[in-house]
Symmetry: C2
Subunit: 213 residues, 2 copies
Amino acid sequence: MAVQKSTQPAPGKPAPDSTRRSEKSRRAIYDAALALVVEAGYPKTTIEGIAARAGVGKQTIYRWWSSKADVLMEAFLDLAEQSMEEAGPAPYAFPDTGDLAADIKAVLRATVDELRDPRFEAPSRALAAEGVVNEELGRELVAKLMQPSLDLYITRLRAAQEAGQVRPEIDPRIALEFFISPLAQRWLQHTGPISHEYTDTLVDYALHGLAPR
Amino acid sequence: MAVQKSTQPAPGKPAPDSTRRSEKSRRAIYDAALALVVEAGYPKTTIEGIAARAGVGKQTIYRWWSSKADVLMEAFLDLAEQSMEEAGPAPYAFPDTGDLAADIKAVLRATVDELRDPRFEAPSRALAAEGVVNEELGRELVAKLMQPSLDLYITRLRAAQEAGQVRPEIDPRIALEFFISPLAQRWLQHTGPISHEYTDTLVDYALHGLAPR
């Protein structure tokens, strides 16, 4: 799923040298947090453990983040951002070529590639698994990691409604689930393989329905 | 989701008294397994712990099941079965009244009720969360707990295809995901509320599509 650019932590107005040191610490903290959640799981990942592994003081972490959930989510957003920068220019926008099916297919193909990226797999599974049993964290993951993408789907579907390509009575917030939920369930629950061909099929079925015309 | 009746463990051909004792032990083991996975999580639930809590010997468990995953899945199937017996007669069949939308809506409404049953919530979340990070267990959960229900959807959708209510080129295995995956994602990831009205809407959108006719 396309993920929006995160806001960076704002460590005051540091001098250039301090900024460089801060940036190096921030990256070490992200790397440590992602590695720990994969190795130990979310419940056993602690601010102390992240600090020790990153080689920084605990207070450095508390200066920028209020909880381990915040550190992990920003570390994950940063990872997503790196991956999207590698993917090429303008990765944050949902395409609007006027061809709704083609646009959604393109976004879903990119989502499939992201879900298959081995750098993502372990940390995103660790966070998602914790979100299943920890409703507060689950809701934070949705608000910070998913909602920006859901909003892009809603905007694109509304444009399609204005262009007469989606029925006006359709609720875009529910409609978008036909594109993202089957893929999410296959990935989360191992209910089936994921591929570009599969997500293309979802788009065709969702737009045209199952019943004959 | 409607869950098929499980096969019971077969403790040989015991005398009536032994059968009664076995049944009592089996239930104690199921209760202990479900309670432990909720309290301690899947990774920390052990055969030893289940045996101690159930007041039986470890060997009693190993005589009937080969692993803690097997115990937990049968305990969960047993719970689902009890819930369905309470729900009334013939709960295992997928209705076929000839009205596809009404039939799928009825099944999904029952699934919503099951997902909201507090007895299910904690153990099914604990197992689902482990399935996200443990592919082998995830695939076992699909095969033992979900596949029977998926097969019922496939059979019903094929009947609808024969009746000319679903386009012949639709793959029922993919089509069924429009009914179950949005609900599963809302439940697993806390992405939105679940209700009968919501699942009714999914059925209408899926059958008729999003694009104008």
